[in-house]
């Protein structure tokens, strides 16, 4: 039986996202997907889902929804806390609510985006092998658009064994949530405002003072920022090589330098190709927190090597697989 919610208040921008659409890049279809992929994956893991199941990405708070059936959900991210009966619900934990429950998102000043997973995943059609919403071309997700008041969202009826077991145990004991939770903090870097970067192919196009300035100065996230990319304000960079870069593939995390010397961090909905020289890319492990930065937040960049970035990525994936193992052991048939 599928679980169901209805949207009472959609909030600023709420879309269905998964881990993105990778196989159509050559047709200029952007990756899209969750901006904070780590929070997306943890929300899924907490209800026993596969990481790629679709979640709802909420932007800031000011949203609410109603359980139309019994629902098993979880959330992760830094844009909001889930509030039920005036009580803040814990994140990264499975949460069981009965039909009729109204859940509200209240502001979390730390970040911007929050992911809501449901056992079985949100059931929307696959478009080009993904459920992610891409608003510019109005495809994917829930009817190719942001969620609106009155929308009714279903879960897929296919529950994993772990999801079923979580559901059974909470139901038997009439609990809202179990005593365990995933520790997201242990996966996050200590310095939230410092992004580790790997210098890019066109690094030699910039003069030395500009490179030093890039690695030492503070930059501010500009108001123009969105799911396509973050515009940064700060000291403009100066190029010593003035030649033009012929458009070539780019990917989320790449930091482009515009004609006026300003930095743009490309994110989930970025174009697949770009013609601006790149100074660096944000390490994959720091991209999730980067997506939690809000306009007005300050950020710094610190350099790591390509090999370090790759090792950090592999370590992160290893840690995530341990979480999955721990949860499945907990819910193995005893």
């Amino acid at each position: 039986m599928s679980m169901k919610i209805s949207i009472i208040k959609p909030g600023l921008l709420s879309t269905i996202q998964d881990r993105g659409r990778y196989r159509y890049l050559a047709q200029a279809v952007p990756v899209s997907g969750a901006m904070d992929e780590l929070a997306h994956r943890l929300a899924n893991k907490a209800v026993g889902n596969d990481d790629h199941y679709a979640t709802i990405e909420f932007t800031y708070a000011d949203a609410s929804f109603k359980a139309e059936t019994t629902i098993l959900i979880s959330y992760s991210g830094d844009g909001a806390f889930l509030l039920y009966n005036s009580e803040v619900m814990p994140a990264e934990k499975p949460l069981l609510f009965l039909a009729g429950s109204v859940i509200t998102l209240i502001n979390n000043p730390l970040g911007m985006r929050t992911y809501l997973a449901i056992a079985g995943g949100w059931d929307v059609p696959d478009v080009m092998e993904s459920k992610s919403t891409y608003l510019t071309a109005a495809f994917g997700g829930f009817k190719g658009r942001a969620l609106q008041k009155g929308d009714v969202l279903h879960s897929s009826t296919l529950l994993s064994e772990i999801s079923s077991e979580i559901l059974n145990r909470l139901t038997e004991r009439s609990l809202t949530y179990p005593n365990w939770r995933i520790s997201r903090e242990s996966l996050l870097p200590v310095k939230r405002e410092e992004l580790r970067v790997v210098l890019a192919n066109e690094i030699s196009w910039f003069d030395a003072p500009s490179i030093i300035s890039f690695l030492t100065n503070t930059y501010t996230i500009d108001l123009k920022s969105n799911r396509m990319g973050y515009h940064l304000s700060g000291k403009p960079l100066v190029r010593k090589v003035k030649k033009e870069l012929l458009s070539t593939a780019v990917t989320p995390g790449v930091i482009q330098v515009t004609g006026s010397g300003d930095l743009v961090i490309l994110l989930a909905d970025c174009q697949t190709t770009g013609g601006y020289p790149r100074i660096a890319h944000v390490a994959a492990v720091d991209l999730p927190l980067c997506a939690q930065l809000k306009p007005g937040d300050e950020v710094r960049f610190s350099e790591i090597s390509r090999d370090e970035a790759e090792e950090l990525y592999l370590e992160r994936e290893h840690d995530l697989s341990l979480i999955t193992t721990a949860i499945s052991l907990k819910y193995n048939k005893t």
Partner: protein, 246 residues
């Protein structure tokens, strides 16, 4: 960086750099040339037929081919190297050392019907005046040529095409239009292209095709792909409307 001479025995040296933890880019050159484009198309074809384990997809562009992969799967492979970057580079260099397949005739040929001028091509006069031509001459020259799709970029299905007669070269608009309708055929500098969906844009619009350039319901959503050969055919309003009804 890996410096090598000559994929497929050519004397074009390639260079590989990491774009992210999950992608590397091969640079084949620095200028737009048909030979280079053919080499990238061939290399891409050989790579996709002989993928390494963990390969996700590739993105060809003017002078580069970018390869996306899953580092976890790559690390489990027996390719030589201690990092994902080294392992993927090793595979790409191995491909570069194979025989080039002589199969250029496989290039896809696509005919695009276009209604030129009028409300569908409000900048046809600008292109004509810029080049001291009549509007009819612009249409004749534009339909006479064969174009090569250099890459798909900007928005889903937008094909950047080269090989345009330089008599039609027209700079982009200083101030882009806020809305260019889907199907609009444009000129920017020495390239021609088609807007697959309504977006802002700065190209000079000379006409409109009734074809759907991008359709999520097709198995290949983008009508055009990098390396395709394209010709344009002028149609009248009746023919245009007949297409739309199909």
């Amino acid at each position: 960086m890996n410096e090598r001479v000559g994929p497929f025995g050519t004397n074009i040296p390639i260079k590989i750099y990491g774009l992210s933890e999950k992608s590397v880019t091969i640079i084949f050159g620095t200028t737009i040339e048909n030979d280079l484009l053919d080499l990238i198309t061939d290399f891409n074809r050989v790579l996709l037929r002989n993928p390494f384990s963990g390969l996700i997809t590739t993105v060809p562009a003017y002078t580069t081919l970018t390869v996306f992969f899953d580092p976890l799967t790559v690390m489990l492979s027996d390719l030589p190297g201690v990092s994902g970057f080294e392992k993927v580079s090793a595979h790409l260099n191995r491909i570069a050392q194979t025989e080039r397949e002589k199969s250029k005739t496989t290039a896809n040929e696509v005919l695009i019907p276009v209604y030129y001028g009028g409300d569908f091509g409000r900048d046809l006069l600008t292109v004509a005046r810029t080049n001291n031509l009549s509007e009819a001459e612009v249409i004749d020259i534009h339909t006479a040529g064969q174009y090569t799709v250099f890459m798909i970029g900007f928005v889903p299905g937008f094909a950047y095409m080269g090989g345009m007669d330089t008599r039609l070269s027209t700079p982009r608009k200083a101030v882009p239009n806020a809305k260019i309708p889907a199907g609009s055929v444009g000129i920017a500098g020495n390239q021609t292209g088609i807007y697959p969906m309504e977006t802002p844009g700065g190209w000079q619009i000379i006409g409109k095709t009734p074809l759907k350039m991008f359709d999520v319901n097709r198995s290949q959503p983008s009508l055009l792909q990098g390396g395709d050969k394209v010709t344009f055919k002028a149609i009248d309003l009746n023919e245009f409307n007949a297409y739309v009804e199909i």
